[in-house]
Symmetry: C2
Subunit: 409 residues, 2 copies
């Protein structure tokens, strides 16, 4: 059986961290010099195994095996959220890199190969999964023309040119080349840690629906306007928020999450009755049926508020991402690998966050595995996973890859 080198996995991750250090984590936004350096580091490591390497026109890195038999695509992303953690992304890239090395080094797998991809901008600095979507032919030039960094406003075209990628063609994968795509990631939640588990077998990536709820009343003087004639849009929005909080637990699924992350009153001054308010509702679940049910309930709550007055209330959907099912054979391979290496210490679970595997799952079989996040923390530089869990995850990843490649012979 092929074997990973645990020390090399940790050394690779530390090398990537050292290219963009920030406090205990990293600051590596998409197409920053630190990000480009990490892409070049990866291309060099892939070249060293004998893979053909490409850094393409949207800053995706590809490492392409020359093997003639079954091939699997592995990877994740290398950029980070601003001032964030060292493992969110790099863990999955380094696991795929190490698996590619191990398969290439094992004579028993001489016919097989692991292609590696680092998908640009999974973290969404410029857009919505631009890298993985480009790699399966789902991004046109107009989308790149119009994209800009959400923090700095820098156009994507200018950032690509600064990275030396102006005019470089974008590489599109042939999905039929692959057994499928396998991505490892930190859990970003506390379920594994809280239940003393080591591996999450991802069953689905949740669907996300987002809504803008708006209330409209009448702005007026907070001292001279009688309570009886007020139409306070702030109170109306707060009532809707509480109604959703009270009603959703009774109709949600076991894994449903919902969040009202933003509430704003207009004009938002102590002595002025709010004339308008905005509330953002986001909900996530692996099942569309659950999301449908919650959507109906949210619309009813808003319609009831509108009907009972004194303010108008409306809701409109602003974002919708479909749930993405992982392939049965990929789930089985990850579960069997985990059971072989840490019996009983794994669990089937959905992913509450979006990942590149969601994009690939529409074009080829796809799977994911999670390793524990200490304290469930992510998108912060204190994000971490123990060295032992990192190494164990790499072993499970490679074991699953080997099972999938063997089965495809």
């Amino acid at each position: 059986m092929p074997e990973i080198n645990g020390e090399r996995v940790l050394a690779d991750l530390r090398a990537l961290k050292a290219l963009a250090p920030y406090e205990g984590g990293v600051h590596r936004p998409t197409l920053s010099p630190e990000h480009v350096a990490s892409l070049k580091w990866l291309a060099a490591e892939l070249g060293a195994i004998g893979h053909e390497t490409k850094l393409d026109g949207i800053a995706n890195v590809f490492g392409i095996s020359k093997a003639k038999g079954p091939k699997l695509l592995g990877g994740s992303h290398l950029e980070s959220q601003n001032h964030a953690g060292w493992l969110d992304g790099p863990l999955g890239v380094v696991y795929a890199l190490e698996a590619a090395r191990a398969i290439a080094a094992d004579p028993a797998f001489a016919d097989c190969g692991v292609d590696v991809i680092s998908c640009c901008d999974e973290e969404g600095h410029f857009g919505n999964f631009l890298g993985s979507r480009s790699s399966i032919g789902d991004v046109d030039e107009a989308a790149i023309d119009s994209a800009a960094d959400r923090t700095t406003g820098t156009p994507l075209r200018r950032a690509l040119a600064a990275a030396g990628l102006a005019g470089v063609p974008r590489h599109v994968l042939d999905p039929k080349r692959y057994v499928g795509f396998l991505e490892a990631h930190i859990e970003q939640g506390d379920w594994l840690e809280a239940n003393d588990l080591k591996i999450g077998v991802v069953t689905k990536i949740v669907g996300i629906r987002q809504y803008l709820i708006t209330t409209e009343g009448m702005q007026n003087h907070a001292g001279t306007t009688r309570m009886a004639i007020r139409r306070d849009a702030g109170v109306a929005a707060a009532r809707i928020a509480v109604a959703i909080s009270d009603h959703f637990p009774g109709i949600a699924g076991e894994r449903t999450v919902w969040t009202m992350g933003r509430m704003a009153y207009d004009p938002g001054a102590p002595s002025v009755i709010p004339g308008g308010a905005e509330l953002v509702l986001q909900m996530r679940d692996p099942e569309n049926a659950v999301l449908d049910r919650l959507e109906v309930a949210a619309k009813e709550i808003v319609a009831d508020a509108d009907k009972s007055g004194p303010c108008r209330a409306s809701i409109r959907q602003t974002r919708r991402t479909e749930p993405a099912a992982m392939a049965q054979n990929f789930m089985d391979a990850v579960r069997d690998a985990a059971e072989a290496l840490v019996p009983g210490k794994h669990v089937d679970m959905p992913s509450g966050a979006g990942h590149d595997a969601m994009v690939f799952s529409a074009h080829m079989p796809a799977g994911m595995l999670f390793v524990p996040s200490i304290g469930g923390i992510s998108h912060h530089w204190t994000e971490n996973t123990s060295d032992a869990d990192i190494v164990l995850g790499a072993r499970v990843y490679l074991d699953a890859v080997a099972r999938l490649l063997k089965a495809a012979r």
Copy 2:
């Protein structure tokens, strides 16, 4: 009896509007060139009656009668809120000016006089009733040193220097000189209009108490954090807002108003569970006993939220203005004048907004009268009062002044 000239009252108000036109209203922030022009206009008009005039070091205008007998102080303010109405302030100044003219012109009142004051910055661009407080000796130089325009950030010292007032002494009134202070103002609410009334006899100016309510939870990922372990500070704040909205009507007074004008979630992003939230509660009532009761209730609601969790909740007072009672003889004079001119078309009522009369009431007898606001609108350029109501208000004002001066002989 002395008589006002209705056409002159309207012409004066229109002249002041023409010095700072904005849409159908005015834009005349404190110490803007337009404001300074209006102060100079007033000083010239006061000089024309034979009053001694001063434009002092805090941009208060004084018109001081040379009469030997009873004197009344009248006035209001000339600056406006940004992009606001033409009558909020100028109405009371022009009524006092016209009353000063009428008393000066009437041989039967040769011994009496009306002093006129335009109090700088009642609208609070730089501070809290700086002009009227300065005129009764309640503003020290340090307060002026530290004040700055809330919109532009311009220091008050620089704005005064730009108006040519650097180094000009501030004039302090002797309250014993006066029968008292009488201020007319637009109602800014719809009570008079809704009840087909013409004059409001102000009984009290409400006390104002303001509180910052803070909730503290834990910021986390909106996709990967289970509902069961969330501590969502946004939901906690919304629940407090609704609890206050539900509980206050049962314990409030007939005239109490309360407003939650500002709600903010931190960090306020759709995919992030709010880690903190702020809610501003303001309440106004003519009676401290009512405000005390509401304060106890608000503190109990917040303490209950803190105790029941999962978030911490706290409340602290950030502003307190005491209710100010109008003098009995001033209320009687205004009521009798209104009854004489428009029988049955007047009502005793508190003022829900703060006014300079509140400051003067602590140092001499003070009174106020309101004229109707069309649609109850104020602090907006659509603010208006019919010409007939403006002229009627001036007649009631002068009649009340005459009654008060006569009674003091």
